[in-house]
Amino acid sequence: MENLLDPTTDNVLMMKVKNGDIDRLGLLFERYHHRLFAFFYRLTARRDVSEDLVQGVFERILKYRHSFSDQGSFSSWLFGIARNLHIDYCNNSRPADIALDEAHLDIIAAESPDSPDHSDGNLSHLLVRRALEKLDPDKKQVLILSRYEGFKYREIAAIMNCSEAAVKVRVFRALNEMKETITAFRNQERL
Amino acid sequence: MKTVKTILLTLIATLVIFAGTSLAQEQIAVPLSNPGQPGKLSLKLVLGSIKVTGYEGNEVVIRHTDLGRGMALMNDSDNDEDREGLRRISRPASGFEVNEHNNTVTISRISPVRSVDFEILVPTRFSLTLGSVNGDYLTVENVHGDHEISHVNGNIELRDISGSAVVNTVNGNIIATFSRVTPDKPMSFGNINGRIDVTLPANTRFSTKMRSEMGEMFTDFDFNEQESGRTDEHTRNGRFRVQMNNWVIADVNGGGPEYLFRTLRGNIYLRSR
């Protein structure tokens, strides 16, 4: 579905929202809420939190609609807001929430139809999920944006407000960290 | 997050079964998920009266009076003599369920064989879906929202409501006074026997279609009447229309959403205030 979206149209719609025709936001919501939800879900592994964050993104869009500039693409702007919101969430959430996250992961593991089998180098969802969980928010975001959202490094750089090279380094570090975490998990299991 | 509050009530009816005079009134207060935000209330009854009043509060307060067994006797052909000398050991099904979800309060599972009167307080910004088949009254006061009100054998009275309303009863009067109407929303009032008496703010813009087959129609609004009392065919706004006998079709204050008034035998009064 995403391929059908014409980025100029998004921008046109958002400019209309900016100029007071806020009902147009409905169409942008319809276009993006699934992607945003998936983005947050991959970051937090929590459905309720993800739904709240999606709502939060659109609240901020309404509030800061005047700051939208037609220069960049709407989707970069949108995910920039989403990313900041997620960082706020990480800073404000209590350890109890993180514990809940862990519990949630186990639920996913239990629900997962293919049983984990990582004896011969096959990685289970759970293991990858746990490793992803351990990354700091910045790395998690960069990885998810590049792996799932189909953004080019240039676009991610715009979202993350850093250079393209920095994005690549972060993706690379994130992957390496995950690999190390997974190795550590495995070693633990062998003991 | 969004919590679904389910309050399951089981009323223990004791004396009520025999004595229609001793009424047991109970009260429950239902808090809302988003206090201060508009909400909805849905209540459909078979037997009993309803009164809903808007108030400056954040909870839905439900008072109910169980009037005892009603139509159940239809299924109970036994005579009192059959029971002479015996003690009643069963309790007729009673109770109901109240659900709150995202500011929507639903009262359901009311036993169709018991007669229960409801008196409910709601925050003023509430949309109501109310229905009864047989009740003494169905009254709403001072509530703002989109209302759907239906009765079968009984009157409907809406006092100082605002928003919009879709109202019907078969045998009973429909009396409604609006302190404010939502622009652009259509409304509809219909019955068979009984008058339809609706009061609207004088500056309301609407287009009306009214018909009383056997009664008469009165208004103090300035009707810019388009067609009435004729049966003919013609084109209006480029569309084909057949005009029925006895219809009064008019634009008021320049016209607007359609307000339909339709009765078989009653009079229609359309008043401005």
Partner: protein, 268 residues
């Protein structure tokens, strides 16, 4: 971590976006042993696994919350500006319709179609264009109406029935939707409005047939009477049998009975 110098190459490799020069460089580095191929394979495997983490569907309340917020903001904006234009009257149902996500898509795509159509036919005959536009407007109204009919609020469904007055009678989908409303809507006022809207489409045999067969399905005397009026207006004699069927019910209100008996007389 020595690989970090090559992070760009490796990440491009993982995403499959290596340029030709990059591919050559990558191959060279592996051959020279400066990139550990087993580590790369490990990374690749993980990268692939990342793609298989399942994501559930969001709950429906997300929509409700969003539109509630939008409504609130709209109301706040309207409160601050006293101006109300005529365009908003028309726009209101469109805006409301966004509460149904499927329709929002349909409308969105239709708009895109309209725009694209305009872009690609800049020199077409003006009359053609107007004709096409008006048929597109009808299409839009049709989508709007059919989706409004699914709205929970009877006020919105009434509005939908009223929108049908602005769609040409030849449109069978609209007629079907109205008949469906007549037979299944939970609100009596909405059903009555559907009867009136269908009478306007009474030149269609399909509509008349639908109205006739609906008679015995109606339990509300209000709808029964509306149908009786409709049949007289359309002079639909085939309805007589249906009314007779209705009259067999013993519990009928005497006023309604009288009305239906008169209807039969008027039709014969």
């Amino acid at each position: 971590m020595k690989h970090e110098d090559y992070s760009e190459l490796i990440t491009d490799y993982l995403r499959g976006t290596l340029s030709e020069a990059g591919q050559q460089q990558f191959r060279m580095l592996v051959e020279e042993g400066r990139l550990d191929i087993s580590e790369i394979i490990e990374l690749e495997k993980m990268y692939r696994e990342l793609g298989t983490i399942p994501v559930p569907e969001p709950g429906s309340q997300m929509h409700q919350r969003f539109y509630a917020m939008l409504d609130q903001e709209t109301a706040a904006m309207e409160a601050s500006s006293t101006e109300t234009g005529k365009t908003r009257d028309w726009l209101q149902p469109v805006i409301n319709s966004f509460r149904s996500p499927g329709l929002a898509w349909a409308l969105g795509m239709l708009l895109v179609g309209l725009l694209a159509g305009d872009l690609f036919t800049p020199f077409s005959n003006r009359d053609d264009k107007i004709e096409r536009l008006s048929s597109e407007v009808y299409q839009m109204r049709e989508i709007l109406m059919i989706s409004l009919l699914e709205n929970d609020s009877p006020v919105e469904r009434l509005r939908a029935v009223n929108v049908s007055h602005q769609i040409p009678a030849a449109d069978t989908r609209v007629a079907e939707a109205l008949l469906n409303t007549l037979n299944n809507d939970t609100n009596i006022n909405v059903r009555i409005a559907a009867v009136d809207a269908l009478v306007e489409r009474g030149s269609s045999a399909f509509v008349r047939q639908g109205l006739v067969s609906s008679i015995s399905r109606q339990e509300s005397p209000l709808v029964q009477i509306a149908l009786a009026d409709a049949m007289i207006e359309l002079q639909e004699r085939s309805a007589v049998g249906q009314f007779r069927l209705l009259l067999e019910q013993e519990t009928m209100d005497p006023n309604v009975r009288h009305k239906l008996e008169n209807t039969i007389i008027a039709l014969l």
